[in-house]
Symmetry: C2
Subunit: 257 residues, 2 copies
């Protein structure tokens, strides 16, 4: 048993692929020195050229777009371990901006170097592609949410998804996790007005499924919330599992008998 580097990015990559100690060292070596950004700070602005891939180490960030009518849509939420852009591309212009939602610590990876690393080891290649696939799946499921789910369902679905994503990183404690988004952020992400987010949260609380206050979310009845929100965790590829192994996953992730 070699050294076990503790890093959210490696934790995430390990989910899908077994990396050797050497592989992990290689990946770890890609990370540029950490930087900090304040809440609401723009890490990479829309329209600028992307040369390094941002990687969230601590805190939450998002990828969002502003429309000319002043409305903002959050396209993707990033938690620790998340790579903000597809890993294999060459430098290109962004058409959305990457913004910190909380104070964050982030790193960067050279687009060139990560390509070299991916070609150097089949495991790394596998792991990076697995991660990209998961990101794609999350965004596709997001489309489903916006298209056919009601306001309350969207909230529930997001809470379930984040629960599993964070749990995979060991960031869920006692069925609850840190939830730093404001109701305005939630509205921008889910295509709802702030007021309506507020009312919908009230409903989820009233149903007894969650409580959310002081930036902390607790899910009291995951199963109920999941069923209500039509949340099927298959798309998160949590254990390289086959589809509809839903219940097994649940048990495993919830630590229930």
């Amino acid at each position: 048993m070699g050294t076990n580097i503790v890093h959210p990015f490696l934790r995430k990559l390990r989910l899908g692929t077994r990396l050797s100690a050497e592989d992990e060292a290689t990946v770890f070596g890609l990370l540029k020195p950490y930087r900090k950004a304040a809440s609401h700070e723009i890490v990479q602005a829309e329209g600028t050229e992307l040369r390094y891939l941002p990687l969230i180490v601590e805190g939450w960030a998002c990828c969002s777009r502003m429309l000319e009518n002043g409305k903002r849509q959050i396209v993707s939420l990033f938690v620790p371990g998340d790579l903000c852009e597809p890993f294999g591309a060459s430098p290109h212009y962004l058409n959305h901006s990457i913004t910190a939602l909380t104070p964050i610590t982030f790193s960067a990876i050279s687009m060139k170097e990560i390509g070299v690393a991916a070609r150097s080891s089949p495991r790394i290649y596998e792991a990076l592609w697995g991660d990209l696939l998961k990101t794609t799946a999350i965004e596709r499921e997001f489309i489903v949410s916006l298209g056919v789910r009601s306001a309350v369902e969207r909230l529930g679905h997001l809470f379930c998804e984040l629960h599993l994503r964070l749990n995979a990183l060991g960031m869920v404690v006692d069925r609850g996790y840190n939830f730093p988004l404001t109701q305005t952020d939630l509205g921008d992400a889910l295509g709802l007005s702030t007021v309506h987010v507020n009312r919908s949260l009230k409903e989820l609380r009233k149903a007894g499924w969650i409580s959310l206050s002081e930036r902390h979310l607790m899910i009291h009845d995951f199963k109920a919330l999941q069923d209500f929100s039509f949340f099927d965790p298959a798309y998160l590829h949590l254990n390289g599992m086959a589809p509809s192994s839903r219940d097994q996953t649940l048990l495993r992730t919830m630590g229930l008998p």
Copy 2:
């Protein structure tokens, strides 16, 4: 001037990268024998293992998901030349299904072979990643549509996008193109009811911007439709262009002075 293979997939790849004749032959060689599917036929069902990447050669298809409450959401629309899944992954289970929207001709690419091809030539690598990036961008812009655009704006935006995508393949003739989706399909894609799609189309017609009948769409005033729908073509990366070169693109694609 080498041989110029006429194939929608190659046409699309050429948009972002200059491929050598040899590269093109390599890519072309990846394609398995064509197959046909009838309209509404499922090419690859949700939950099945994907071993070959479907590639649309003729006709339209989509990637969609069905919810337990019976609602369907179309996540992605595929036109000729579109690869239905990210090219670099290894076989995995799909959590959405790939369905023909019209009678289609499609091919398949081995996930293994395309990886080998990508590693064999920097140009091919570049082209495939450029294509993947474009696909990602399209899906992200779709999220924006569903999140913050009104029904009429969503329709307008989709029409603009497809206009440019098809135009890049030479499939736009005289400002119009073949538009095979039914109003029900449109509703499933844009998160709207069929009835409301119908009414919204009526508004676009009344404004004089489009006409749509008998599976043929004509955009009479692209500029107006674009402005109204907050459509910014930058995300389609049509000419490797820098952002906000919007107007140049427009002129070029519209063939206007």
